[in-house]
C-alpha cells in the first residue's frame, strides 16, 4: 500500500523530542481550554494560532491539532465530573456520565469515556490514512465549478441537517460570507463593503469572530446562568482503570456503530456535536434494556464519546483533501494553513507530502499521548474548576483580548471581539447556529473565487454547474439537501392531518 509507506515517512518527519514536547504542550493546553467554560476547541485554536505564525508549519499543525484532541478530551472530563459540558459536543456524555460519577463510578466513567474516545479517534485516523490519497486524487479532477459545487454541498448540508431553523442557519451563514467579503477584493483589488471606515480595509478576521462568538459570548451566557461547580471528587484509581479496560470489549458493537456514525458526520459538515447526539440516540433505541439509560448506563458514555472523537478526527479529511473543513475547529485550522502559506486541498498532497503525512502521523501519536495525559491529569483539572468563576472568568477575558490584539496588532479588533461576543450571546439564546458563520467566513473568499471563475468560464451562465456528470451530481445532491427541510415539513403536516382524521375516526387519540 502506497499510503502506508507515506505514513511511515510521515512518522519519520515528526519523531523528534521537540515535536513530542509540542504534542504534550498542545494536549495540555487543549484539555485546559476544554475544561474551562467559555473556552472551547475553536476558540483555543484561534487563540494559539497567532503564536504559531513564526513556527514551521509542521510544528504549528502538531501544536494546533493536539490542542484540538486535548480539548475534546477535556470537554468529556467536565461532563462526567461536573455535569457541565466543556464543549457542545460532549453534552450527550452528561446524560449517563454524570449519574455514573454520582454513583461512585467516576473512574470507571472517565476511563470508559477516554478509551472509547481514543478508539473512535484512531478509527478516524485510520480512515483518513486509507482514504485521503484517494479523495485527493479524485479532487485533482476538480476545476472551479466542481469546487463551487462542493462548497455549495457543504453549506446546503448545514442548512438541511442543522438542528436549528433552516432560515436562521441561512442568515448566520450569509452573514459569514458578507463579513468575509469586507475589505480588499482578491480578484479586482477593489475595496468593498468598507463604508469608508479605515479599520475595515484589512477586513474582518475569522479569528476575531471565533474569539468573540465562542469566547466572550459563551462567558456572557455562563455569567447569566450563574455557574456553580458542584463536582465529584475525582481520584482515578489504577485498579479501577484496569478493571474497566477489561470490560471495554463488551461494548464492541456500540463502539463500531458509533464510529461509523461519527466518521460519516465528521466527513459531512454535520460535525461532532450532531454525531454524539445521534450516536447516543441510536445506542439507546437499539438497546434491549433501556431502563438504565439516563441513570448511568456505560453504553450512554461509550456511544457519544466514540462518535464525538471519530467525527472530530474525520473532520480533517475534507479539510486536507478538498479544502472544505468539517467542523468549526477544522475551519479555524484551515485558516491557519492559509496563513502559513499552504493551500489546503488536493495540491497539498503533491506539494507538501511531508506536511500532510506528518500531520496524519501526529494524529496517531497525539491521540495516544492525549489518552495517557488526560487520565494522569484529571484530578489537577478538576481542582482548577474549584477556583471561583470571579477569578477564572476575567483571566479568560484577558487571554481572549490579548489573542485578539495579536491577530493583527490592532486595538480596534478588541472592540470588534466585544461586538462579536454580544452577537454570539444573542444568537445563542435565540438558537441561531454559530458554526456556519465561522465556516462561511473561512471559506468565503474561496467559494466566491470559485463562483466567479466559473462565471468567467461560462460567460455568466449558471448552466456551467450542470455541464458534466460530476458537477451536476454534486449540485443536484446539494439542491436535494437544501430542499429537504421543505419536503420533511410537507410530509410532517400531511401525516399530522391524516393522523388527526384517523384519530377522529377511531374516537380515541393515540399519542
Amino acid at each position: 500500500m502506497e499510503n502506508i509507506g507515506l505514513l511511515i515517512d510521515g512518522f519519520g518527519h515528526i519523531l523528534s523530542w521537540n515535536h513530542i514536547l509540542l504534542m504534550m504542550v498542545g494536549v495540555t493546553l487543549g484539555i485546559l481550554v476544554g475544561v474551562l467554560p467559555g473556552l472551547g476547541a475553536p476558540n483555543g485554536v484561534s487563540l494559539l494560532l497567532p503564536l504559531t505564525f513564526s513556527m514551521d508549519p509542521i510544528s504549528a499543525i502538531i501544536l494546533l491539532s493536539c490542542m484540538y484532541w486535548g480539548a475534546l478530551f477535556g470537554g468529556s472530563t467536565t461532563s462526567i465530573l461536573f455535569n457541565i459540558p466543556g464543549e457542545p459536543s460532549s453534552v450527550a456524555t452528561t446524560f449517563d456520565g454524570y449519574p455514573m460519577a454520582k454513583a461512585g463510578q467516576a473512574s470507571r466513567a472517565l476511563t470508559l469515556a477516554f478509551v472509547s474516545a481514543g478508539l473512535g479517534a484512531l478509527a478516524g485516523v485510520v480512515m483518513i490514512t486509507l482514504l485521503s490519497g484517494w479523495v485527493a486524487n479524485f479532487a485533482l479532477k476538480f476545476s472551479s465549478p466542481e469546487y463551487f459545487a462542493v462548497y455549495f454541498l457543504a453549506f446546503a448540508s448545514f442548512i438541511s441537517m442543522g438542528a436549528q431553523s433552516p432560515f436562521k442557519t441561512l442568515v448566520s451563514m450569509m452573514l459569514g460570507f458578507a463579513l468575509a467579503s469586507v475589505g480588499m477584493d482578491t480578484i479586482s483589488g477593489n475595496l468593498r463593503l468598507t463604508f469608508d471606515i479605515p479599520e475595515l480595509i484589512k477586513g474582518v478576521s475569522f479569528l476575531i469572530a471565533v474569539m468573540g462568538l465562542f469566547g466572550i459570548g459563551e462567558l456572557l451566557l455562563t455569567t447569566e446562568e450563574g455557574l456553580r461547580f458542584e463536582g465529584i471528587k475525582a481520584r482515578v484509581k489504577l485498579a479501577e482503570i484496569g478493571r474497566t479496560l477489561i470490560e471495554i470489549p463488551r461494548y464492541w458493537l456500540t463502539i463500531v456503530r458509533s464510529t461509523i456514525i461519527g466518521i460519516w458526520m465528521g466527513i459531512t459538515p454535520a460535525g461532532p456535536t450532531a454525531a454524539s447526539f445521534m450516536s447516543y440516540g441510536v445506542a439507546r433505541r437499539s438497546a434491549r434494556d433501556k431502563s438504565m439509560f439516563g441513570k448511568g448506563d456505560p453504553r450512554g458514555v461509550v456511544a457519544p464519546e466514540t462518535a464525538d472523537h471519530s467525527a472530530g478526527t474525520s473532520a480533517l479529511l475534507p479539510m486536507l483533501a478538498l479544502g472544505v473543513p468539517g467542523s468549526a475547529t477544522a475551519a479555524v485550522m484551515m485558516g491557519g494553513l492559509m496563513i502559513w502559506g499552504l493551500t489546503p486541498g488536493p495540491m497539498l498532497f503533491t506539494d507538501r507530502p511531508d506536511f500532510v503525512w506528518g500531520l496524519i502521523a501526529s494524529m496517531y501519536l497525539g491521540n495516544v499521548v492525549a489518552v495517557f495525559l488526560v487520565i494522569a491529569t484529571v484530578p489537577l483539572y478538576a481542582s482548577i474548576l474549584r477556583v471561583p468563576f470571579s477569578i477564572i472568568g476575567p483571566i479568560i477575558v484577558a487571554v481572549i483580548f490579548s489573542g485578539a490584539y495579536q491577530v493583527a496588532n490592532s486595538i480596534s479588533d478588541i472592540f470588534l471581539v466585544i461586538s462579536f461576543g454580544l452577537l454570539g450571546y444573542v444568537f445563542k439564546k435565540l438558537d441561531y447556529p454559530l458554526a456556519p458563520l465561522v465556516l462561511a467566513m473561512v471559506l468565503g473568499d474561496k467559494a466566491e473565487d470559485a463562483f466567479r471563475q466559473s462565471m468567467l468560464m461560462s460567460g455568466g451562465s449558471l448552466s456551467i454547474f450542470w455541464s458534466n456528470g460530476l458537477v451536476s451530481g454534486l449540485m443536484t445532491l446539494g439542491l436535494v439537501l437544501l430542499l429537504s427541510p421543505v419536503a420533511f415539513w410537507l410530509v410532517g403536516t400531511l401525516r399530522k392531518r391524516r393522523h388527526d382524521v384517523a384519530s377522529h375516526g377511531d374516537g380515541n387519540a393515540a399519542a
Binding site: 505564525f53 442568515v171 460570507f177 479586482s188 468593498r192 455569567t223 447569566e224 450563574g226 484577558a398 455568466g460
Partner: protein
Amino acid sequence: MSENSANGISRFVVELGVAALTGAFGVAVCYGSLDIGAGWTDMGPDAGYFPFYIGLLIVFGSLVNIAQAFLKHRGTGEIFIDGGRAKVVASFLLPLIAFGAISAWLGLYVGTALYIAATMFFQGRYKWWIALPAGLGVSLVFFVVFEIGFQVPLLKGPVEAWFGIY
C-alpha cells in the same frame, strides 16, 4: 431598551429586533455592493457581484425569521432576559468594555492588571492586598509568555514607557 422592567424583555421582541438588524445588515451589504458595481465588466463579474446576492439572501432569511417570530414566539410569554439576569450580564459586560477602553489608552498589560484586580475586588469580594498582586501577577505572566516566550508583543502604553520597556 427597557431592561430594568420587572418582567424583562420578551423573546418575541428580541427575535424581531435581531431579524430586523440582520435584515438591515443585508440591505447595507446590497447597497455597498451596488456602490462598487454588482454587474459585469470586461474582466468578468464585478467586485460587488457575489456580495450583492449574499445581501439579498440575508434580507430574504431575515424576512422569513420575522414571519416565524410572529408564528412561533408571539404571545408565548417566553422571556429573553429578566431584570435580575440582565443586571448580572451587565456586571460582566460593562467592566469588559471598560477593559477595552483602558487598554486602548494605557496598553494591554496595564489594562489586564487593573481589570483582574478590579473584578476580583468588586465582584469576587477579595481584599485589595489579594486582588492587586493577583492582577499584577497575571499581567506579568502574560509578559513572560508573550513577550519573551513567543516573542509576539502586546500593546504597550505610557506606563511601560516610564519603566523603559518597549
